[in-house]
Amino acid sequence: MITIIDYGLGNLGSIKNMLVRSGIKCTISGDPDVIRSASRLILPGVGHFKYAMDTLHERGLVTVIQQRVREANVPLLGICLGGQLIGRHSEEGDVAGLGLVPMDVVAFDRARLMQGEKVPHMGWTVTPHSDIPLFASVQQPARYYYVHSFHFRCDDPHDEIAWAEHGYRFASGVRHGNVLGVQFHPEKSHVYGQQLLRNFAAMDFGA
């Protein structure tokens, strides 16, 4: 059973809609006990990084998520802001994240954008990706819907699994062990996102 973590931010209904449509069992919950019993976790999120971290702390979810992911090896997929929260630190609010992936979250470098390119980066972007099970059978060229003003910056390029270009190329997907993060919205990306979520539900993360 996949649990979509509810901390008051993010488009939970859309993620659930897409999972249900794909025949994947899921539940939405902000209850630490339910989250502790989940076999897979999705961390959604839309909005401000600091506000999201403050809320996760207030609801006592930071340590629960960290324990389950680090000690019990529960697979976690972070989506959009949720993908950023798994990092170490964000420039948005200058605050620490969950620290599950060795990366920082940085603002788009506006000096490197071309004329007419605006922030937030908003829209569908063709997204090349590495050949890992998360992207198995995804129709090519894979494209996903993005809305963001900040992006991942990984310490280790080996953790990068997908890329997009907006002014310059940046990592839009990361994997570090059992933790995955995507900057785009698979739940709002037609068949491309549907296949990705199906893969996440079925992927073998090993022991």
Binding site: N11, L12, G13, S14, N17, M18, R21, V46, G47, H48, Y51, G116, K118, P120, M122, G123, W124, T125, V126, R143, Y145, V147, H148, S149, H185, E187, K188, S189, H190, V191, G193, Q194
Partner: protein, 255 residues
């Protein structure tokens, strides 16, 4: 190649989908859910639902919106009758990504700030409707094109941006439903004045018009309504959306 978003706008009224011309003469077109299913199959970039009766009737049809949104696996904007951040919260919970404000952008700009503060700038879209007056000056109208506002389009667009809107849908009332092409001069005036994306709307009749909205109008995305629900001007209903190759060849690769 830069992909520019192509956004169908669906108008809701009379418990169904309608289509207007110059904001008048609503023609009933049936169940919006069927249309959304087709746009889903055709992998449309994004959809905007506008309930054109909501402000006048003072209500939002939350359950109906939920039903429509549950069929859409693409980003959804909703506009119509939103007057409080609580209503916006309810819409987000039901699967809407973007809140579209029109009348409230003029009458209660704090609403934009409140929604943006909680959900981010990308979640608030200011919809600005413009009509030329007797002296050919561009004037902003609210309440479904019925009430003239004091601000001119550029001033209002800047105010919405400063309040926290992440995007602007700019509609020419004079062109809406005419298939006669966008008012590119109007688009350019506003798009050049703000640093947030401006979505062209009102008048598109062909993919070529999309191109002009970007090259001449300086817009970041294009929206259309009649073109996606009618076979041609004056003809019967036909839900359509250009194919990926059509958009590439006739639009994106020609920018």
């Amino acid at each position: 190649m830069k992909r520019i978003r192509v956004i169908p706008i669906l108008l809701l009224a009379q418990s169904g989908m309608v289509k207007t011309e110059r904001f008048a003469k609503p023609r009933y077109l049936g169940d919006p859910i069927n249309a959304v299913k087709i746009f889903n199959e055709k992998r449309a970039d994004e959809l905007v639902l506008l309930d054109i009766e909501a402000t006048a009737k003072g209500r939002i049809e939350f359950d109906w919106i939920s039903d429509i949104v549950s069929e859409a696996f693409m980003p959804i904007g909703y506009g119509g009758g939103i007057a409080s951040v609580e209503q916006a919260a309810e819409l987000f919970k039901r699967g809407v990504e973007k809140i579209v404000v029109n009348t409230a952008a003029v009458e209660n700009p704090n609403l934009i700030s409140e929604i943006a503060a909680r959900y981010g700038n990308q979640a608030v879209v200011a919809s600005i409707d413009v009509k030329k007056n007797f002296w050919k000056k561009n004037r902003v109208y609210t309440r479904g094109g019925r009430k003239e506002a004091a601000a001119d389009p550029v001033t209002l667009a800047r105010a919405c941006r400063d309040a926290g809107a992440g995007e602007i849908i700019l509609t020419s009332i004079d062109r809406e439903g005419t298939f006669g092409g966008y008012d590119t001069a109007l688009l350019e005036t506003v798009a050049s004045a703000v640093d947030i994306p401006v979505v062209a709307n009102g008048g598109a009749g062909s993919v070529d018009d999309f191109k002009r909205a970007v090259t001449d109008g300086k817009c970041s995305a294009v929206a259309a309504s009649s073109m996606f629900v009618f076979a041609k001007k004056g003809e019967g209903m036909l839900i359509s959306y250009p194919s990926e190759s059509e958009l590439q060849e006739q639009f994106w690769l020609r920018l």
